[in-house]
């Protein structure tokens, strides 16, 4: 199957790469279907391209790339709509796909507070706005391997 993206041109994708967000995303409530693009040039980042709007795409990064100890805190029932019947805190990257949206700019940032959570089996997703989580919605985009404060000494 093919689609055209304003940012990434003609794209060939398989139906397995389609992710459905039944409620859309905050600010984009009408956008339910996205195609997951894994482009070798930007691994481990992942692009989510809207199926119906060529000009709408999000750049995302699996949270575990930035923080291997990332804890997903869902409230009761929040993930059931995705078909997830397991623990209230599924392991990001193992039980569920957990993608944080990247905002590009002079200092790229990542929204670790409200990641996109996708159930790999049902390919249903939602943007989980966590309450009481110690994460920022403007976390600097830097891989976990980079030691903190390495530049000051």
């Amino acid at each position: 199957v093919r689609l055209t993206s304003a940012e990434f041109g003609e794209i060939e994708y398989s139906p397995d790469d389609v992710v459905v967000f039944p409620e859309g995303l905050p600010a984009f409530e009408d956008e339910a279907e996205f195609v997951r693009l894994r482009l070798a040039a930007i691994e481990p980042l992942v692009v989510l391209q809207s199926r119906r709007t060529p000009a709408l795409a999000f750049l995302t990064v699996p949270v575990e790339v930035l923080d291997p100890g990332y804890r997903l805190r869902a409230e009761a029932g929040q993930l059931q709509a995705l078909g997830w019947g397991g623990a209230a805190e599924p392991a990001a990257g193992r039980d569920v796909l957990c993608l944080a949206i990247v905002t590009l700019g002079a200092e790229p940032t990542v929204n670790l507070l409200s990641p996109l959570v996708i159930h790999p089996a049902t390919r249903l997703g939602c943007q989980l706005i966590q309450v009481d989580a110690p994460y920022s919605c403007r976390h600097p985009l830097r891989p976990a391997a980079a030691p903190e404060n390495s530049s000051c000494c």
Binding site: A41, I42, G105, S114, I129, Q130
Partner: protein, 82 residues
């Protein structure tokens, strides 16, 4: 910013129609009860931040993105540490 000290059970009024009541406090959190007309949206600030962040993120991509991001990834993400 206006600061008002309140105890559990007390409330403040904003205009004629909005009441914010302190229901419960503990060292880590406060439970607020909000009485407001249905026409006034009441959002946790995390929701507003997510809305704004999503808009900004979607607007931050351009046809140049792929190239820019691939060089970003090759350099180990973000600018060198501050």
């Amino acid at each position: 910013m206006l600061l008002i000290r309140r105890k559990p059970g007390e409330s403040v009024l904003i205009g004629q129609e909005i009441e914010i009541r302190v229901l419960e406090t503990s060292p880590a959190r406060v439970v607020l009860g909000i009485v407001a007309p249905r026409t006034i949206p009441v959002l946790r600030n995390e929701v507003k931040e997510t809305i704004e962040q999503n808009r900004e993120a979607a607007g931050s991509l351009s046809p140049m993105t792929l190239e820019a991001v691939s060089s970003l990834v090759r350099s180990g993400f973000g600018p060198p540490g501050r």
